[in-house]
Symmetry: D2
Subunit: 345 residues, 4 copies
């Protein structure tokens, strides 16, 4: 039985994580914690959990005193707020899975440039492993600090990795055009996330400057063995959950759509959370699950490949992947606690 603590359990990702952990047969939740709702039950914030998960959220200060009682600490915090706690946890021998952004970029200067804050724990970055199991399973298994990927990067990297690995597209030609549901903006009381402000409308945002860009580039550069610079455009769409990434690359040589499918099916042949489908993905096909759907099209007119992926941003894009990483860290069956069927409706 792994003893787990969750920091930031009342945000959307933290909520989802708490629910998944509460159902996980190998996990005992030692504490949930919250900044805004400390000393309240999780079910006071998420009324669906009344009678199901009524655990009281401790405050952030109390977390430190509980580090000796846990084996793994999950953090679901805004960037820049994890440093002190992560240092203490690691020093105490607690494994850390950070759902936030603080340990995803290897180069702290890149982090500081994109996030605009000082990185207080640069010396821990060399030990951090980017927690995308489909690419880094081995390194995750022996890590103490797992940097759980962002939601856009999860969808984007999984869609593009086989292409980059094979080297059949022009590395300078990659464009990722992605759509996200509104949970991606978190549970903060922002006017831009109001029902009447984002319903019945779509927009692009943070064009050419979204913070998930360097994270995608770093991982795909690893896969390609080349320095990848790409364009990434996020859009907000009026739905709660889900990410769809439509990814473009120029083919360096001719390949049929069937060959492309073979390539992907081979690359992901042992991956149970990757579902390569002939049908184009819809986010509802993966909603509520840890599954990533991927479909492919070759555009013979333009000699481009288009790879489309869909995930649930809160699960494969956050909490589910964090639990998948925990399963790897502690030697559990990688599916443990993650066999949710997508709830299309």
């Amino acid at each position: 039985m792994v003893r787990a603590g969750v920091v930031g359990s009342t945000g959307y990702a933290g909520y989802q994580l708490s629910v998944i952990l509460s159902q996980h047969k190998n996990v005992s939740i030692v504490f949930l914690s919250s900044h805004s709702y400390s000393n309240m039950k999780l079910s006071d914030v998420y009324g669906n959990l009344t009678g199901i998960l009524d655990k009281v959220c401790i405050d952030m200060q109390t977390v430190e005193s509980k580090l000796t009682e846990i084996d793994v600490l999950f953090l679901a915090l805004p960037h820049g707020q994890s440093f002190d706690l992560v240092e203490k946890a690691l020093s105490a021998g607690v494994k850390v899975i950070d759902i936030g952004a603080d340990y995803r970029l290897r180069d702290y200067k890149e982090y500081e440039k994109w996030y605009g804050v000082t990185h207080k724990l640069p010396n821990r970055l060399k030990d951090a492993v980017y927690g995308l199991p489909e690419l880094n399973r081995e390194r995750i298994s022996s890590s103490s600090l797992v940097a759980n990927p962002g939601c856009y990067p999860t969808a984007s990297i999984l869609a593009l990795a086989p292409l980059m690995h094979t080297g059949i597209i022009d590395n300078a030609s990659v464009i990722i055009d992605a759509l996200s549901g509104v949970t991606g903006a978190g549970r903060s009381a922002n006017i831009s996330s109001l029902f009447c402000e984002c319903g019945e409308s779509v927009k692009a945002y943070n064009i050419a400057c979204h913070r998930h860009t360097p994270e995608i580039e770093q991982q795909l550069s690893d896969v390609a063995g080349d320095k990848i610079i790409l364009s990434f455009t996020p859009h907000l769409v009026p739905m709660s959950r889900g990410i769809l990434a439509t990814c473009y690359g120029n083919l360096k040589k001719s390949i049929s759509q069937n060959e492309l499918y073979d390539l992907y099916r081979s690359y992901y042949k042992n991956e149970n959370f990757i579902r390569i489908t002939d049908t184009l993905p819809e986010t509802r096909y993966v909603k509520g699950s840890n599954i990533c759907n991927i479909a492919l099209r070759v555009d013979e007119r333009t000699n481009r490949v288009i790879a489309v992926s869909a995930i649930d941003n809160l699960i494969k894009g956050a909490a589910g992947q964090a639990v998948q990483n925990m399963n790897i860290l502690f030697g559990f069956y990688e599916h443990a606690g993650l066999d949710m069927i997508p709830n299309i409706l």
Copy 2:
């Protein structure tokens, strides 16, 4: 007073057209017609119009006998259904504005390839003018047959024309990634358009094979003076109205974002329905209006320009543009009947 007839007035575009025409001070609606709802009032189908626009829709057969009573015929039909009627209307000296797709492509073979039906009126194509006023105003003014642009093409061409005109991007590099609301699928009783099938989800569809592609390419080729082949990916998003087009091109030479804005502002300096904004477009900013919003970003990391446009697919993308074309045809103020303020909520 122009005497107008509308064919297909109970579909979404036809409905919108009927409403706009009913408010137009220079227009008298001689007839509305409908295939599915003939002999019913328009307000029986669109309950909002009760007491406002209770005109009975005549059936398609009766339309022919009314051609002598009108000056202009609007058609809002599925592709392939306009041929007989258009021939009769033109022969009778009636000007025709077709909201459908039958006269947009100059080459009937291209039409037959993409649409999979026989073109029965190829000899009329040379006289048809692609009704995008911002590009073709002069030719529209003297035309008898206006091929009203598709919704995706309107947004895409307007976003890209200044770039193609100036020749600052690599013509082979153009990618258009576009999002559409569900009215784009029409008012047919298809399961895929049900609330529970397209709500809370997004998908890409018709990748590399959408019928609006050749139309975009034809017009941008004209602007560029070069044969343009591009990638176009449509997505369905859970909202009723609106199109957002995110368009990418590789810069052939360096240009600052400010210079790019100057270029667009100059190109569209006399266009009152084009709104160049610093802020990125949201479809709600143009909903209910004939306006097209465009914003620009230069991605210095990848040396790409990203142009984003937003329109209301039923207005600037269909009925509003049709009325704009009518205004040009008959010498009215181009804004007549089209001064609707976007209704953000």
Copy 3:
């Protein structure tokens, strides 16, 4: 030309009011004002208005100095914040139309009980007229202080007034079960109004204690000539605009549905914003307009009448009705500036 000032122009009702006034041929907007967005353009807050209504919102302090420049002051403020300004405006001879709740209840003690704040202007209440033109047109026309009705009360009172007037239902039996879109909660950054908190869900709220209850009772008591106590239950539904009120009453004597329709058609025979329809109302039938739809059903099994009404909460339930009141106050055609066609889509 009436010179108008708007206080609170960046909330949803204030926004809608500003747009309607800007299109009104008899109105000159002297100032818009805002607490949260002072010194910003209205179009900075509502991007749809860029190039259309770019007027800068003055701050609240500056409003006072402008009172001498206007004929009518509109207020769209949270309750309890209007007192000082209203006193100054009235003293300066400016007519006041308050979209808020501060002057709707004749008895300041009732106000203080339901709203929990001190009424600072009780002596002005006797001069205030409840601005529901269909009931109080004459008194409105000679008033200086119009208390614009709440959204739920507008829908509820209009649905029930003919019944109460005729005395055919048991006055103790009235139940109003109403549904509201999310703009009813205002444009405040509250978590409960987030897309992900109120989308895909419905709830009842403030059962037996909603502040619109005494306002409905006061007006219906006037109509009935009897003290009315009723049940009112508001619900929040995932849409932006619209109110639907389903109203129940026990019939004291038998009446057919046709007779009931005759009664309503007669009662509202001169009202152009009331639309009595055989078809049951849908909020989309009135969205974007100043129209109130009403339909009736007699349930012979239970001997009850059910009257259902629908309005756009921001127009007939707020800004549109305020302009209707202004038209009455200044002797304009009551429809002036209010002929918007409902935009079903």
Copy 4:
């Protein structure tokens, strides 16, 4: 291991049932069947199930030949289509759980009056048990034919039963005002269920004539020991899942809200799917689960009680309750396969 067959597995209720059964440890699905999608995989219709539930749906004709292979037959068909098959199944000793409406009303004349079709199996009605476990658990356990309750009746009866049982309200005063998501209209390609027709709008429908009315009255009459006639008004709201029932009754004697809560908590003290909450229900609190939330308010001003309940219409209102009934029929733990946590997002 119970061997189960499902008829009508591609409608929304049938889909949900198929998913729940596929996860149920005591059930083996012998066949799924479909009229519209026979010989297709369930996952061809519900893309979320690809790789998870790829069972091919047999056609309706083949079902008969499979009756000998199953212990229980679930039917999810439109009313009037079950008679032949149910007779054959019962004759073959197969237990039947009908999610449709054909066996809910004891009196076949009532059925024929409300549903407008001939009941072909009136002699089986005396053996049918109305499958609301909270009221009829004992009789269900020994039944061969379970008539699974409608969605509105489940929410309404559960909200009102304790009141009717106790006799503290005037039986003639009951009004049920209910809201339903769009899955309630089924997965038929009807224009009224299109995204653009039911999004951003609400309506009441079938006032005083909805077919669920007699079913509610029959059950509440049983509980009250009195003939109950009540008003029931359904509304359609723009969400996929969920029913909220707001129920009114006039108190015959004074009771405090706390006493009322005690009454309900006592009445449902052994019910694990009933959750009595202080907080008013929101449908998202029960979405995806078999739970029914109930909250209570006493309106002292009008001397009324308001009971509000929320369920997921496809689960507690259909498929989940069907499985709950199966669990009772076969002696399984009543929660088996039904421990889904409500997925608020």
